[in-house]
C-alpha cells in the first residue's frame, strides 16, 4: 500500500443541504450577522490569541464582522444584484474570506477597482465538485446573470459526500478536505473516509478526471449563456499541473510575493483572525496579481 500523503478527516459543512431550486443551502450560516461564524468561532480565536500567532489588530476580535444571506452565503440576497452589473466569485474559504472582513478579501479589492459589486459564493471546505454543482444550479434556476465569473479552484482532492435522507428532509452533504482534523461520527462517513484515504488520494487519476470534469462543466455552463470566465488557483492548492488533462485548461496560479522593500516581517505571519487563512496584506497581493487579467477581460466585454 502506498503511504498516505495527507491525513484525511471530514470537513463538516454544518447542515448543508441540497434544495433543487436554489444553490446548496448552508443552513448553519443562514442570516448570521456578527463577530463569529461557525468556521471562525470564539473558542478558536482564544486559542490562537493565547498561542500568540495573531496580529495585534485582532486584540479586539470585533474588528472582523460577518454577514451571511438567507441561504448562508457571505453576500447580499441574490435578487438584489442587477444582471450584467456584478462579478460572481466562486471558490472555497479563501473566497468566502474566513477570518477577514468581506471588504478585505481579494475579490472585494478587485470590485472596488473596477467599480463592480461582488457576489461572493465562497464556500468554506468546498472542492471543485461543490463549485460545479452550484454553478449548474445557478444557471438552471436562473439567478441574475453576472458580467464575469471568477473561479478560485480549491485543492483537487476535496470531495463531497452525501448522507442519507431522514424524515423527508433534504439530503445532507459533507465535504472531505485532506488535512483538516475533524473526526467522523458514523458508518457512512467512515466508509467515505476510508475510500478517500486508501484510494482517492493515493491513486489520483480519478480525482484528476473528476476535477477536469468540474472545471469543464462550470466554465462551459457560463460560456453557454455568454458569460466570460476566469480561473485561478492559489499556489499552495496547485495540483493542476500533475495530469495531462489539465494542460488544456486555462488556469492561473496566484502567489503573493513580498519584495525586500515591502517591510514584510516573516517572523510575524500575515494571517487572518482565524489564524489559518492568509491575512490582509496577502489579499492585497492577490488582487494585485489578478488585476491585469480581470481588467483585460472586462475591457474586452
Amino acid at each position: 500500500m502506498v503511504a498516505l500523503e495527507f491525513p484525511v478527516r471530514n470537513r463538516a459543512l454544518p447542515g448543508t443541504r441540497i434544495y433543487p431550486r436554489t444553490l446548496l443551502c448552508r443552513e448553519g450560516f443562514k442570516n448570521i450577522q456578527g463577530t463569529w461564524s461557525i468556521d471562525d468561532n470564539q473558542e478558536k480565536y482564544e486559542n490562537n490569541k493565547t498561542s500568540g500567532i495573531l496580529p495585534e489588530k485582532y486584540n479586539d476580535p470585533s474588528v472582523v464582522q460577518y454577514s451571511y444571506n438567507s441561504i448562508g452565503y457571505r453576500t447580499k440576497e441574490f435578487e438584489e444584484f442587477t444582471p450584467n452589473e456584478f462579478i460572481l466569485c466562486i471558490g472555497c474559504s479563501y473566497t468566502e474570506g474566513t477570518g477577514l472582513n468581506n471588504s478585505e478579501v481579494w475579490h472585494h479589492l478587485l470590485g472596488e477597482h473596477f467599480n463592480l459589486p461582488i457576489m461572493n459564493l465562497g464556500f468554506g471546505g468546498a472542492g471543485g465538485d461543490i463549485s460545479a454543482f452550484n454553478t449548474l444550479q445557478y444557471i438552471k434556476n436562473k439567478l441574475p446573470k453576472p458580467k464575469l465569473v471568477i473561479f478560485q479552484w480549491p485543492q483537487t482532492f476535496r470531495k463531497m459526500f452525501v448522507s442519507e435522507r431522514h424524515r423527508n428532509e433534504p439530503f445532507l452533504i459533507q465535504s472531505v478536505v485532506p488535512s483538516i482534523d475533524i473526526t467522523s461520527p458514523n458508518i457512512v462517513e467512515d466508509l467515505d473516509l476510508q475510500y478517500m484515504q486508501n484510494r482517492y488520494i493515493v491513486y489520483k487519476e480519478l480525482a484528476y478526471v473528476e476535477q477536469y470534469t468540474y472545471y469543464m462543466t462550470a466554465n462551459t455552463a457560463f460560456k453557454a449563456i455568454g458569460v466570460p470566465t476566469f480561473n485561478f488557483t492559489f499556489n499552495n492548492d496547485n495540483d493542476y499541473t500533475h495530469n495531462y488533462l489539465f494542460n488544456s485548461l486555462q488556469m492561473k496560479t496566484v502567489v503573493a510575493k513580498f519584495g525586500l522593500d515591502e517591510q514584510y516581517d516573516f517572523t510575524k505571519p500575515d494571517v487572518a483572525r482565524d489564524g489559518a487563512h492568509p491575512g490582509t496584506r496577502h489579499q492585497e497581493k492577490y488582487a494585485e496579481v489578478l488585476l491585469p487579467d480581470i481588467g483585460e477581460i472586462l475591457n474586452a466585454i
Binding site: 444557471i139 438552471k140 439530503f171 494542460n247
Partner: protein, 295 residues
C-alpha cells in the same frame, strides 16, 4: 467497458471501435448468438442477414459528426439500449423518432455507461459546440441509476489517455471470475461501490441528479430542447425522486414489462437486450410526450 478520454478529442473516444465495421459489439455477444441460434426466441432475420455495426471515427454507432447539419438532427444519449446492441439500426427506438420527425439521429448511445458518462459527454459536446453540429433537440435515455465510472491508474498515467470502467453490471461477477486480474485499485473501487455507494445511496442519488441536471442545463443553454426518459425498472425511487420532483427536470418513466416472450421475438440478437417489440413500445409511450415537449 473501457473508454478513453484525450484532451484534444471533442468527445470521449471508444478507441477499440473507432472507424470499425464489425458483427459483434462486445465479447460475449457472438457466443450468445451462436448458443441461441436454434432458439425459438431468435428472430430469424438475424440468421438470414448479418447484423453489422458501423462506428464512426470516435467509435460511436452513427455517421461522422460533420455530416450532420446544424438544427437538422436529433441527438440521442443513452446506454446499450440506445446504441442498439443486438439490433439493426432500423429497430432501435429512436429510429421511430427519426421517421416521425423526418430528422436524422446522431446516436451517442454507449453500452455499459451510466449517467456520469452521459453528463461528461454532454459537457464535452457543448464545450466543443464550435466544432460539432448543434442539435435541434436532445433526447436522453438515462441508464440504470447505479452505474458509475472509475478511472484506472494504468500504464498511461502520464500518457494521453485514461481508462474508465463502468462496474455496475457484472462487476461482482467479474471480480469473482477473475480475482487475479483485478488490482488493488479495482478492489478498492469495488468495495466502496458495494459497501457504500449502492448500500447507502445518498451519494448515488445526488450524483444522478447532478448528472441529469448538468446535461439538460448545458443543452438548454445553447437553445436545444431536451427530453428525458428511462425504463421504470432502471429507475430512481422515492428518495431520489425527491430531488427531481422539486426540480424543473422531468424524466418520463417507460414500462415495458407487459411485453414478454409470449408476444413474439422479445429479445435482440444477443438474447440479452430487449428486441424490436420492446423498442416499438418505448416509442409508443414517449411519442405523445415528445410531441408536446420538443417537437
Amino acid at each position: 467497458m473501457l473508454f478513453k478520454m484525450k484532451s484534444n478529442s471533442p468527445l470521449i473516444r471508444i478507441s477499440h471501435l473507432q472507424n470499425n465495421t464489425h458483427e459483434f459489439q462486445f465479447g460475449g455477444e457472438e457466443e450468445a448468438f451462436n448458443k441461441n441460434r436454434s432458439s425459438p426466441s431468435m428472430d430469424p432475420r438475424y440468421l438470414k442477414t448479418p447484423l453489422l455495426y458501423t462506428n464512426n471515427s470516435l467509435g460511436y454507432r452513427t455517421k461522422e459528426f460533420e455530416s450532420f447539419k446544424d438544427n437538422e438532427f436529433i441527438l440521442v444519449f443513452g446506454c446499450s439500449y440506445s446504441e442498439g446492441v443486438g439490433l439493426y439500426e432500423e429497430d432501435i427506438w429512436h429510429n421511430h423518432v427519426a421517421k416521425m420527425t423526418g430528422l436524422p439521429i446522431m446516436n451517442m448511445g454507449l453500452g455499459g455507461t451510466g449517467a456520469d458518462i452521459i453528463s461528461l459527454n454532454s459537457t464535452l459536446y457543448v464545450h466543443n459546440i464550435d466544432k460539432l453540429p448543434k442539435p435541434k433537440a436532445v433526447i436522453f435515455q438515462w441508464p440504470g441509476r447505479a452505474r458509475k465510472y472509475f478511472v484506472d491508474d494504468g500504464a498511461n498515467k502520464y500518457g494521453d489517455t485514461i481508462f474508465s470502467t463502468v462496474p455496475a453490471i457484472g462487476l461482482e461477477g467479474e471480480v469473482e471470475d477473475h480475482p487475479h486480474s483485478y488490482n488493488t485499485l479495482k478492489k478498492l473501487d469495488f468495495d466502496y461501490y458495494t459497501e457504500r455507494y449502492i448500500t447507502y445511496p445518498g451519494n448515488l442519488y445526488h450524483t444522478v441528479f447532478r448528472d441529469v441536471m448538468t446535461a439538460n442545463t448545458l443543452f438548454n443553454s445553447i437553445g436545444a430542447k431536451t427530453f428525458n426518459w428511462m425504463w421504470k425498472a432502471d429507475g430512481l425511487d422515492a428518495d431520489s425522486d425527491f430531488l427531481f420532483d422539486k426540480s424543473n427536470i422531468k424524466i418520463s418513466k417507460v414500462i415495458t414489462d407487459h411485453i414478454s416472450e409470449k408476444s413474439g421475438y422479445y429479445h435482440a440478437r444477443d438474447m440479452i437486450h430487449p428486441g424490436p417489440l420492446v423498442h416499438d413500445e418505448v416509442f409508443r409511450q414517449i411519442k405523445p410526450k415528445l410531441e408536446r415537449s420538443i417537437l
